[in-house]
């Protein structure tokens, strides 16, 4: 493709506004958050004048919903767009296209929050919180942990100083930290305790939705199960909704109610937990599940391993994005992109075979 052709293609893409599609999505009453045809492209600039030369299509049209009090997991290899999808959903990134809906805490109404800003967006920040993968990287090393947990309350102008202090002590107890430690700094804690601090900070504002971005991945084996149990206990206690991002499918199976499998910016399959693990429909999901090692030496490993790496999201393959690695690839996969189809109630997959 010549440079000129590339430019025109990009210009047309800029005008392509996928934001208001003709079909208004419908969500049932128990849904807390949903997105429809969500896109997030990151522009790549280059050349003499720093013009946009391409896009990284990190999230390329995904739709899903999460019911209140449930855990939805996004799984896939690194580079699949899981984290970008989550960050776009909670408005940490501005979406390139698509709509985001959220049942607001104050009004109880289901609102389109794709373009809200100012005070309205600030109040949304209270309702969605995030727990990050690396607890030492996401906690300020220069302030005591009590202040770290208190900070969101100061930012959102909540309560008097005494009330805030009480709330910090209460939160520390809830996540299983001794309140005497509130004057300590993060480096004085172990990895598991630091993750507890991260969780306390996320929950201090009573959020509705908590995004757990690889929240247990960096922890040691014996600590990981402690934090998983803590997250589940807190979910029950505060009827939290989780968007759980993980690459460890064992953890995902244990935690999730529903699961979406992502590949190169697209959702390829989504289903309730038991359905996905017992009856995966998409060849990618099958390959992913097949690749997971099982802690049982008696199981024979005659694995059908998919070869190759995930392609670049700047220039994804034509047609079905998985076709370059798919063991069941057909002629049509090159030409036509498969659409998400419902293959049984609540079980969707995008593959020409289905």
């Amino acid at each position: 493709m010549s440079k000129k052709e590339k430019m025109t293609e990009i210009e047309t893409k800029d005008y392509l506004d996928v934001r208001h599609e003709d079909i208004e999505p419908t969500f049932s009453d128990d849904v807390l958050v949903g997105c429809h045809n969500l896109h997030k492209y990151f522009p790549i600039h280059g050349g003499l004048f720093g013009a946009k030369i391409a896009d990284v299509r990190a999230v390329d049209g995904i739709s899903f919903e999460i019911k209140k009090g449930e855990t939805h997991s996004l799984v896939g290899e690194s580079g699949a767009g899981k984290t970008t999808a989550a960050k776009t959903l909670i408005r940490l990134y501005d979406s390139t296209g698509g709509n985001i809906y959220f049942r607001r805490q104050k009004t109880g109404l289901f609102e389109d929050v794709t373009k809200i800003k100012g005070e309205d967006l600030r109040s949304l920040r209270k309702e969605v919180q995030i727990v990050f993968q690396d607890p030492s990287g996401s906690l300020n090393p220069r302030i005591p942990v009590g202040d770290i947990i208190e900070e969101p309350m100061i930012v959102h102008g909540i309560k008097s100083k005494n009330e805030r202090k009480d709330r910090v002590v209460e939160m520390m107890k809830i996540v299983g930290l001794r309140p005497e430690y509130l004057k300590r700094y993060q480096h004085e804690f172990s990895g598991g305790q630091r993750q507890r601090i991260g969780i306390a900070r996320a929950l201090v504002l009573n959020p509705e939705l908590v995004v757990c971005d690889e929240a247990v991945s960096a922890l040691d084996v014996s600590i990981q199960s402690q934090i998983i149990n803590l997250l589940q206990r807190l979910q029950e206690k505060f009827s939290l909704t989780y968007l759980f991002i993980a690459h460890d499918l064992a953890v995902v199976r244990h935690m999730s109610d529903t699961i979406g499998v992502m590949y190169l910016g697209k959702l390829v399959e989504s289903a309730p937990n038991a359905v996905l693990f017992n009856n995966p429909a998409h060849p990618y999901t099958q390959a992913l599940l097949n690749a997971v090692p099982v802690p049982d030496p008696e199981i024979e490993h005659n694995k059908k391993i998919i070869m190759g790496d995930i392609p670049s999201p700047i220039n994804p393959p034509s047609g079905c994005r998985f076709r370059t690695r798919c063991p069941k690839v057909m002629d049509i996969c090159k030409v036509e992109e498969p659409k998400m189809k419902e293959i049984e109630p609540r079980h969707m997959a995008a593959c020409h075979l289905l």
Partner: protein, 326 residues
């Protein structure tokens, strides 16, 4: 005779805050062509054990305080640095966790792998290049001729790890130490790399020490497993016995607490092991696991249990006063 026999190894680190006894009284052996899995949490001494075998422990602050390491019948600890250099990368080689940091970013990967052959096998550059290209082919790097001139940053994580494996295998070592070789990789790529390691083992009869915290990876790869806790091996046996019949409460607890990909979701919390690994400067009295052990009794708090062969078993070793009855 075992290929590698480690006897009563003690490796200490002298730091500003005192002495850390990272490895204390570790003994194990590895047979030709078999895989030993060294399992444990971070800080339990599994990497220090393997670095001690390679004699790559920085000294100071580190020090191999006591012990013997027999490789092919010779004590590695009695070797001069010069002799050790001839063994490293030749008879024993090592693969590290992060291929990005263990490859030099300013040299091509081809050059870095050739270097091993030029140094150890006195090959010319041309001979080495030819051999490296065939090695790249063996480890499944597509288009090896072009890849020879790539720099590490031009390759994906999986490809870089293959380069590391090619480097490790260049001189057909008798023992390959793989320290968390797949931890930084995606599951699909992990499966590819593990498959590759299995093929290599079958083809070349290389013995492997696989260091990992992942109980699922080790179940698929190892013939024998040593579980480490606080610088000690607490349990050692063959892989099937360990998963069927774990005797040490730590092993037992770990196997029960991990979420399983092959079991359906339940609403029951995971039976997690409470507490954390003790501070290395404040070693608990008695059994090092007793503060977290649900079976701990008075004797465990007072006296450290010996590492013994359990009566009535074939090579099932355990360091516990009251082994779990299954």
């Amino acid at each position: 005779m075992s290929l590698l026999e480690v006897k009563n190894l003690h490796t200490y680190f002298h730091t500003m805050d005192g002495v850390t006894k990272s490895v204390e009284g570790v003994s194990f052996s590895v047979e030709k062509g078999s895989t030993l899995g060294l399992v444990g949490e971070s800080g339990c001494g599994k990497s220090v054990t393997s670095l001690s075998v390679m004699q790559l422990v920085a000294c100071p602050p580190g020090e191999i305080h006591e012990g013997e390491i027999f490789f092919d019948g010779e004590d590695l600890l009695k070797k001069t640095p010069e002799e050790m250099r001839k063994i490293r990368g030749n008879d024993i080689s090592m693969i590290f966790q992060e291929p990005m940091t263990s490859l030099n970013p300013v040299f091509t990967v081809g050059f870095q792998v050739s270097e091993v052959l030029i140094n150890h096998r006195n090959m010319t550059e041309e001979q080495a290049k030819e051999r490296v290209i065939s090695l790249f082919k063996d480890v499944g790097i597509p288009d090896p001729v072009r890849r020879f001139d790539n720099y590490p940053h031009q390759m994906s994580g999986g490809m870089r790890q293959r380069v590391m494996i090619a480097m490790g295998l260049a001189c057909k070592p008798k023992l390959l130490i793989a320290d968390e070789p797949t931890t930084a990789l995606d599951v699909t790529i992990q499966a590819q790399v593990l498959q590759l390691m299995r093929e290599i083992k079958e083809k070349t009869n290389t013995a492997i020490i696989l260091i990992t915290h992942n109980l699922a990876v080790v179940a698929e790869m190892a013939d024998f497993i040593a579980v480490m806790y606080f610088g000690r091996i607490v349990e050692y046996t063959d892989v099937k016995e360990l998963y069927k019949n774990p005797k040490h409460p730590y092993t037992h607890g770990l196997l029960n607490s991990i979420p399983r990909v092959d079991k359906p979701k339940t609403d029951v919390p995971l039976p997690a092991i409470p507490g954390v690994v003790p501070n290395p400067y404040k070693s608990p009295k008695g059994c090092k696991f007793h503060p977290r052990c649900k079976f701990a009794q008075e004797k465990c708090r007072q006296e450290e249990p010996p590492y013994i062969l359990l009566p009535g078993t074939k090579g099932h070793f355990c360091r516990c006063w009251y082994p779990v009855k299954n």
